[in-house]
């Protein structure tokens, strides 16, 4: 398999504009006031957005697929070798899409993660996912293509993704 690099999709300024300006204005016009929770969320979101805009979007690949396996920078487990992947399942959790990886030796990979990330990822198990799940939102490739590439990496071609929706 020739190396494939997957990066974050470019920020959509129109979507950000919609979220941070149009949505609060719309809520204000509809309700006649801004709920307290919006007053809390909005400044936090604006500060984090400014921080992100100043820092700029990372040009580094988030996911790398090569002949050895799949590497997702966010998972902090290193390269997951193709031979260690037992099964992959697609999940859609209220619009947030994931590819849950079931591994032959989960403990080996789970032990590589920082304790805090391991603890947070246990929440995913409530939804039927494993603790190692690749988030596919906001990437420059779509979910189905990534699933296809993962299957190709594991040595199987032409497998359709079957998504479990949780809403």
């Amino acid at each position: 398999m020739s190396p494939i690099e997957i990066r974050l999709a470019p920020l959509s300024y129109w979507r950000l504009l919609l979220i941070f300006i149009v949505a609060p204005v719309g809520i204000y016009l509809y309700l006649g006031y801004l709920p307290f929770i919006i007053w809390i969320i909005l400044p936090i979101a604006l500060i984090s957005l400014l921080f992100k805009l100043i820092r700029g979007q990372s040009k580094k690949p988030i996911i790398i697929l090569d002949e050895h396996g799949v590497f997702d920078r966010r998972l902090k487990v290193g390269v997951i070798e193709w031979g260690d992947i037992r099964r992959m399942k697609s999940y859609s959790l209220s619009g947030a899409e994931y590819i849950s990886l079931e591994l032959h030796n989960m403990k080996k990979y789970a032990s590589r993660r920082p304790l805090w990330l391991g603890a947070i990822s246990q929440v995913q198990r409530v939804f039927g996912m494993t603790s190692i799940a690749i988030s596919t939102n906001g990437l420059d490739v779509d979910h189905a293509t990534l699933v296809q590439w993962l299957h190709e990496g594991c040595g199987m071609e032409g497998v359709e993704a079957r998504t479990v929706d949780i809403g």
Binding site: R86, R87, C154, G155, V159, R162, V164, I166
Partner: protein
């Protein structure tokens, strides 16, 4: 929280569709209110129809299965899975299940 695959979330829609559509036609067309009629049979019939509709549409939609691959150490194992499920149960099976739940509820109400 609803867990479903494909169009599995439509189970309840199909089950209650006859009550809403035919019940609405009976009410606005003939002045028969199935929820307030002396006999329970019109409502029971519509619920049975809903179960049949769920079963029929579910069976039709699930006629083509989807491949799911497990990469065992011995080699890949392909299993066929239904496309449309609700809480991991095939869509068509929800027809009889919802009907059983409905009649259990009716029995509970009548014997209470």
């Amino acid at each position: 929280m609803i867990f479903y695959t494909g169009e599995g979330y439509l189970v309840l829609v199909f089950f209650v569709a006859p009550v809403i559509v035919i019940g609405g036609l009976l009410y606005y067309g003939f002045g028969i209110d199935v929820l307030r009629a002396d006999s329970w049979w019109p409502l029971h019939s519509l619920m049975i129809l809903g179960a049949i509709l769920t079963f029929a549409i579910g069976s039709f939609m699930n006629r083509k299965m989807v491949k799911e691959v497990t990469y065992e150490k011995s080699g890949p194992v392909t299993t066929m899975k239904p496309r449309h499920t609700l809480y991991a149960i095939r869509m068509e099976y929800w027809g009889p299940i919802t009907l059983a739940l409905y009649f259990a509820f009716v029995a509970y109400r009548s014997f209470r």
